[in-house]
Symmetry: C2
Subunit: 411 residues, 2 copies
């Protein structure tokens, strides 16, 4: 789920290699990349810091070649919370073990330092930072792939081997944007910075997790239910009831106005009872037209394909599409009404109403998700149920007003 | 979208290091990992092979340190197709540039060979394969991280440095399963094998793409529309019409039976017109209860949380939840019917019908996705619109049958 909180613009930036030092701050930051002299490689976080949620398993072969000191680490991912991250987990996933080296080291010195602190080979590269001065966190200067370390002359300086143009993201990174950067630059890891300081490292696997979780949450919201936060099979009926009943009651309350609408047209209904036969068909069709649009739009907004500024483009496109679908459905409705044997007037009413309801539903469904985003409400809440509820009663008004025009018995 | 084609079980396997040679086959396989003597590193595919969709940009710093021969490669990802992969793209994404080395090389020889063929440092590691004999593709024996290459003694044999227990997947890998492996093992790349032979390498970024695409397709299906395959803003109204109109007409045709149901209860409706007031509310509530369940279930099935064998567990859980929600909604309906001023008999009918419809809808919605999966139809087609359409008419029957019991005027 996104958008309930204000969503800042994605902030991919390039590390500014020689930027001015930032104001003093605590030596151990949130990401725990603390300098560990004399080897100048970041140490595991001290006891007071939150531990990373994920085990840092090293996929390389070093363990077997030479036993080395390394922090105790679980070998398998814990079931439960780790499998189902919440959105806030993005930064808790940022690695706290990111090993860093200094530009003044030689390749041989860097390799020796990294051997001492195993780090996480899954990143594919090591980050080069400034020497942290008293009270200031290290500034990201560049990156060196393990590959480059393997292939460079042992006596070269890291400053000459490192790649200064590292793709980084801010701490407020949008997972979708991070995924895009991973793809575009074929990254194995993405450093997270604040004011040029290295705060941690995000892996593609972490981003994949978060995207999966967001898609699941969006699906829940669009189904008119609160996200579960636990694996489905572990959820008790009581928990499912709690997650669903609020939306059910809200939608029930919202749908109650359809009764009022029908009561207002009681005379019309009593005069021509045949009008009642088409009520479920017409409101169902209106809801379907709207649901088609909101699901497509919400997903396009989730993947940043459609943004707020596209609102007019979207409404124009959906209105045109609504007219096309409305004409098609009107034709189908005309055929259906005749085969139902309700007479020409009611048949005409049903056909015209079907087309009009589809167009009306299209306009509502195309405006609503963008309007909610504007109001900083998660557009994923424009569930199928919600759009159906919204257009049910208004569709009935359209239907009976058209009936008043075409059915002489009512007139 | 998944499930329309039979979905084979995910097949993560461990490479069997010294397995018997497979029957002879073409030297250049689909993945193009062809031996390129004398350096024994896979060459870029020859002209006749499909080129990879993605540019292989090297994020390491080698280019600047020493100019090396490398295949011509675009520097930015092409817009369009590459951004919107179809499901079949999984294997077309498998890298064709996977550099491989032999276990009989020393670390220094391996580094020299890899320097000659830059490969893709984003993988973080290099794969060790057997010497391809005439007509047989190379068998995967293990992997060495660039990190291990950087830190190992130059004279050691690769056989002693490599990690033999490589996590691999078969060519029929399910993207969800691949994502799970990336996460569990903190991989940067996942070799794809067939019968032990290395067919290519999948990156986490590739898997992320595919999962994103599948979530978008599932969202479309659950909204009752065909997936777009083009970016939303690029889709013309005519294309949108084509993608949506089939479902709209199918749902319209399916919903037509509600008219027949209402006609069958014409006498009841004419006797107690107040019954008509609650038709939209009741069928709306039934549809909502069903949509809540199908969206949750379909997503749980997409992420392999719920499988076919869980059908009884799911139905039991949803029936229990349906009873809880049904009771809640029945209470709300009773209140609503009284405030609508329709008399005790109709109010009782509405309350009992609301509860019964919720339970009925819960059972249908919990069985249907699993039934469709069993029939090898993508369960994502059980859209909100579809479940609404299914339970609308049956809900009406429940409503009027209950009315016959409670409303004496009808009796």
């Amino acid at each position: 789920s996104r958008g309930t909180a204000p969503r800042s613009a994605p902030s991919p930036t390039r590390a500014a290699p020689h930027r001015a030092a930032t104001p003093p701050r605590a030596a151990v930051g949130r990401s725990g990349t603390r300098s560990c002299d004399p080897c100048a490689v970041a140490a595991p976080p001290s006891g007071g810091l939150p531990m990373p949620r994920f085990p840092f398993r090293r996929p390389d072969g070093l363990e077997s070649t030479a036993p080395q000191p390394r922090p105790a680490e679980p070998q398998t991912a814990p079931v439960g919370t780790a499998d189902r991250p919440t959105r806030d987990d993005l930064l808790s996933r940022v690695s706290e073990y990111a090993p860093t080296i200094r530009p003044t080291m030689t390749v041989a010195e860097a390799v020796a330092a990294l051997r001492h602190h195993p780090g996480d080979a899954a990143y594919g590269e090591v980050y080069v930072t400034s020497e942290p001065s008293a009270g200031a966190a290290p500034v990201l200067l560049g990156a060196v792939s393990y590959r480059a370390l393997a292939m460079s002359d042992q006596h070269r300086l890291i400053a000459g081997v490192m790649r200064p143009d590292v793709v980084t993201v801010g701490e407020d990174v949008d997972p979708e944007e991070a995924a895009r950067l991973f793809r575009r630059h074929r990254l194995a890891a993405l450093p997270v910075t604040r004011d040029g300081e290295l705060r941690g490292v995000l892996t593609a696997a972490d981003v994949t997790d978060i995207l999966q979780q967001e898609a699941t949450e969006d699906a829940a919201l669009q189904g008119g239910t609160q996200p579960l936060d636990v694996p489905y099979l572990k959820a008790s009926p009581l928990l499912l009831w709690r997650r669903r009943v609020v939306w059910m009651l809200l939608l029930f309350a919202a749908e109650m106005y359809t009764g009022t609408v029908l009561k207002a047209f009681e005379d019309e209904l009593e005069t021509v009872i045949a009008l009642a036969f088409f009520v479920p068909l017409l409101i169902g069709t209106g809801g379907n037209a709207g649901t088609q649009i909101t699901t497509t739009l919400i997903r396009a907004m989730a993947t940043n394909e459609v943004r707020l500024r596209d609102v007019f483009k979207v409404v124009r496109k959906e209105t045109a599409t609504g007219l096309l679908i409305g004409l098609t459905i009107a034709a189908a409705a005309l055929v259906r009404a005749f085969t139902q044997g309700v007479g020409g007037e009611v048949a005409l009413t049903v056909a015209v109403a079907a087309g009009a309801i589809v167009v009306w539903s299209s306009v509502v469904a195309s405006v609503l998700p963008l309007l909610l985003r504007r109001l900083r409400i998660d557009p994923a809440v424009v569930s199928g149920p919600m759009i159906t509820t919204l257009v049910d009663g208004t569709g009935l008004i359209i239907y009976f007003e058209i009936a008043r025009v075409f059915v002489t018995a009512i007139g």
